[in-house]
């Protein structure tokens, strides 16, 4: 047997991800006395939204804003509750037996849980435009990671393109940190404003309204903003040198060293999907969301999902959903400790308030079809370099779903496991076959959900019984 870096190999509750949902869940479960383990793959707790909250070099508080610094309390509260938070721990498999395979310091091991709360959050929606694979093109989320963890703002001529709250938040943070942005190409379709109108009333009552409008004003004072952008292409030979776009019917081109793309975030479903959790297509958020009950329980007994991985709701809602899932875990495992948990109906009320205005944002920032359904030579699957045209041809040959397409073209079979092409492929098949994305389905994802070194797998703890030989006849 090899020594294991974790103190124990079984816990009452294992929480995967230390963002707002995971931390809040761990605080509740830990405080109720459940042995609680949080596994998080980053170097510091906080997830995306509170990334590097305990270590960021960006110490001027106004740059990242009050909403960011709120993460400090959450981390402190979780640590005080008694949960073990392990950083640098990459979970690469979870199954229906609640066995979790985790890699830590180059050593993998299996941990067993009585309950699992997946809090792996969101990832950015694919933005497949011509040239999006060129060096110099990256996502707004990746830009924000560099800002939070290393205090870096992009150099040279910088263009942001896309739609959604994060685009504006990041732009404001870059400007406050002393960075410059040459242009923002806003791809929010004009029609979305009308379509979102029926959802406007709760939004007007939500905290998002004032903050959002202030952010946009702050950015628009300093940056050239082009609205109603209807096409985008990154141009260049071995690296980006310009961005071509059309707005209001006119074709334009601007020089750029860095293009940061963003069109919203979607749940990161990979771990849950590989564990066999049922998902459904969300028509408003245009993505897969797990099928959950009010406590966040999935179709797999013992596995719950909280946070943006349960459907995009933002940081405040994520924390409440984390607490709700943890209360349910306490009820299931230690009903006598219920009095140590927050009041369930109060949590629901807070969650409802946190979700006010979400529908408006979902509809307003729904990305346009031409940015979700690419054409021609535009790459869809980056790992295997499969173009939109090849996918269309293969669908036309009678390929019925993403798993058959995967078998023919290998799209989705590379190291990213469909994170960068899965939604595009489902929507392309749905459009071509005139079906709903729900009927088309998604890739059946397979562990390891993050690549694992063969050497590390070979040195995993094991028993001699697994070695027994077979004799071939």
């Amino acid at each position: 047997m090899t020594a294991m870096p974790l103190p124990k190999d079984h816990y009452d509750v294992v929480i995967i991800g230390a963002g707002p949902a995971g931390l809040a869940a761990a605080a509740v479960a830990g405080k109720a006395g459940l042995s609680t383990l949080v596994l998080d793959e980053n170097a510091q707790p906080g997830g995306q939204i509170f990334r590097a909250i305990t270590s960021t070099p960006v110490q001027r508080r106004d740059i990242l804003g009050d909403d960011y610094w709120r993460g400090e309390n959450l981390v402190a509260e979780t640590r005080a509750g008694g949960a073990v938070i392990v950083q640098g721990a990459t979970v690469w498999s979870l199954d229906r037996d609640l066995q979790i395979a985790v890699s830590l310091l180059g050593q993998s091991q299996i941990v067993k849980a009585r309950r699992v709360i997946i809090a792996t959050g969101a990832l950015e929606r694919p933005f497949p435009i011509p040239g999006w694979t060129l060096p110099g093109v990256m996502t707004v989320g990746a830009g924000q990671t560099l800002l939070k963890s290393s205090g870096l703002v992009p150099d040279g001529k910088v263009v942001l393109a896309g739609t959604g709250p994060l685009l504006w938040l990041y732009a404001a943070q870059v400007l406050r940190a002393g960075g410059a942005i040459d242009a923002i190409l806003d791809t929010t379709p004009r029609g979305n404003y009308w379509r979102a109108l029926p959802y406007a009333l709760p939004f007007l009552m939500s905290p998002y309204r004032a903050k959002g409008l202030a952010l946009m004003r702050e950015v628009k004072r300093k940056v050239r903003v082009v609205s109603n952008v209807t096409s985008l292409a990154a141009l260049g030979g071995d690296k980006l040198d310009a961005v071509a776009f059309s707005a209001g019917g006119a074709e334009q081109k601007i020089a750029a060293d860095t293009l940061l793309l963003h069109q919203g975030v979607v749940p990161n479903v990979n771990l849950a999907n590989a564990a066999g959790v049922a998902h459904r297509w969300d028509e408003r958020q245009l993505c897969w969301v797990p099928v959950l009950d009010a406590d966040g329980n999935t179709s797999v007994p013992g596995i719950a999902i909280a946070g943006d991985g349960a459907g995009i709701g933002g940081a405040l809602a994520a924390a409440e959903r984390g607490r709700i899932a943890a209360v349910a875990a306490v009820e299931a495992l230690a009903p006598g400790k219920k009095s140590l948990t927050p009041d369930r109906s109060e949590l629901s009320n807070t969650l409802r308030r946190a979700e006010l205005g979400r529908a408006f944002l979902d509809v307003l920032f729904q990305p346009a079809q031409q940015f979700r359904l690419p054409e021609g030579d535009t790459i869809v699957c980056r790992c295997e370099e499969v173009s939109a045209a090849r996918i269309k041809e293969t669908i036309a040959l009678g390929t019925e779903g993403p798993n058959q397409l995967k078998a023919f073209l290998r799209c989705g079979m590379g190291p990213c496991q469909g994170r960068l092409c899965g939604l595009t492929v489902t929507e392309m098949i749905a459009q071509a076959r005139g079906m709903s994305p729900d009927a088309v389905g998604y890739y059946r994802l397979r562990p390891p959900v993050k690549p694992i070194a063969l050497k590390e797998l070979a040195s995993m703890p094991h028993s001699e019984q697994d070695e027994k030989a077979v004799v071939r006849g």
Binding site: A407, P415, P448, P451, L454, K455, L457, A458, V470
Partner: protein, 382 residues
């Protein structure tokens, strides 16, 4: 609704698709029923080994006959199926294993088969330069190789339809009954009729057999596979071992497939499998020892298909013992892919002409009736 056909084939794996194709080529009107989509399970997600090497002696004639079809697979199905013939090599890891290899090759010679050749250390190194030096030799079967399993199954499916077979996917058999010489097959999409029924239902075949009163001890298994990210080209033939469980091959794109029959858990009712990482670590250790070149590789995906295994690890092929007009073709026990083309052809002969030239006596379902499973009990699947 009732639709008539000459033969109803249940199960759209490589075997069901191949039988449907060969029936259509012989002028019959087959109807193929598949509860999911063709190649959804073991046939679509296996290692793709096209192997005569190291087969059970009873299977060797079938495997050799099937190899003749593989050699002209593009003529047969209109697609090369990704079939590449760089040979398969069985590696002995010590002298005792090498002696067993020698005995095996001698035994096959006496039986009249020459496709397996004993190779010494030097020839092994020539064929497989990356293999560890401690291996004393092995056996090669030079015409063997590997194909793309999903593409192959789809090619058989497509050619079967082009040749006149009808196909219903997403249709599950609920019950079967034979009245006045006609099988009535009740499904989730109505009833179908034919005088002949072929049970090629893989891991679900025991249920179909049980509907005809035939109890077959069949286990649903989930053989596991892993694949790596691309590594520089180092290997042409498919590798299997004499002792430990491993099958190993590198694709043209550089990725390496690691299999060998370690089993996860199958949940046939849910089309689901759960992997057993403790066993996969054993595969990883074997690769690590046998191929030092793989030390920097990363595993990007692991999976398992759902397959049927018989108690003696060889398939059930031929007539039912309980019902007229019912033929079995299942239980290939995780090595049926290469046999697909050939067994489909012999099944068509058996159904259309009433006979086959190939020796199928060892595969009769009757072998399980001799005391293994008392009549009247349910199959192990239920």
């Amino acid at each position: 609704m009732s639709e008539a056909a000459d033969v109803i084939v249940v199960g759209g794996g490589i075997h069901g698709c191949s039988t449907a194709l060969h029936l259509a080529l012989r002028g019959a009107k087959p109807l193929l029923l598949e509860k999911d989509y063709c190649g959804r399970h073991a046939s679509g997600v296996n290692a793709g080994g096209v192997r005569q090497l190291a087969r059970h002696v009873a299977e060797v004639p079938l495997s050799v006959a099937s190899m003749e079809l593989w050699a002209r697979i593009e003529d047969l199905v209109g697609d090369d199926c990704g079939f590449e013939s760089h040979g398969q090599v069985l590696v002995a890891e010590d002298d005792a294993e090498f002696a067993a290899c020698r005995a095996r090759v001698d035994d096959l010679r006496l039986r009249g088969f020459t496709h397996e050749e004993l190779i010494d250390r030097a020839e092994l190194k020539r064929l497989v330069p990356a293999v560890s030096d401690y291996c004393p030799g092995g056996i090669v079967s030079r015409r063997d190789g590997a194909a793309d399993p999903f593409r192959t199954t789809q090619a058989f499916r497509r050619r079967a339809i082009e040749s006149g077979a009808r196909l219903r996917e997403g249709v599950r058999v609920l019950n079967i009954a034979r009245r006045a010489g006609i099988w009535h097959v009740a499904t989730t999409d109505g009833e179908f009729e034919a005088p002949v029924l072929v049970n090629a239902a893989g891991a679900w075949a025991a249920r179909l057999a049980a509907m005809a009163g035939e109890h077959v001890p069949l286990e649903a298994i989930a053989p596991m596979l892993m694949i790596t990210a691309r590594v520089p080209h180092f290997l042409d033939p498919v590798i299997i071992l004499r002792g430990r469980k491993l099958s190993f091959k590198q694709f043209g794109n550089g990725t390496v497939l690691i299999g060998g029959g370690h089993l996860g858990t199958a949940y046939p009712d849910e089309n689901a499998t759960v992997l057993d990482w403790a066993k996969l670590t054993a595969s990883a250790r074997t690769v690590d020892e046998l191929f030092p070149v793989m030390r920097g590789a990363t595993i990007v995906r692991a999976w398992a298909g759902i397959e049927a295994r018989t108690p003696d690890d060889i398939p059930v092929i031929g007539h039912s013992r309980t019902e007229e007009g019912l033929f079995h073709q299942f239980g290939f026990s995780a090595h049926g892919f290469q046999l697909g083309p050939g067994v489909g052809s012999l099944m068509a002969d058996l159904i259309v002409t009433g006979a086959t030239n190939l020796p199928i006596e060892p595969f009769g379902v009757g072998r399980f009736l001799r005391g293994i499973e008392p009549p009247g009990t349910d199959s192990v699947l239920e």
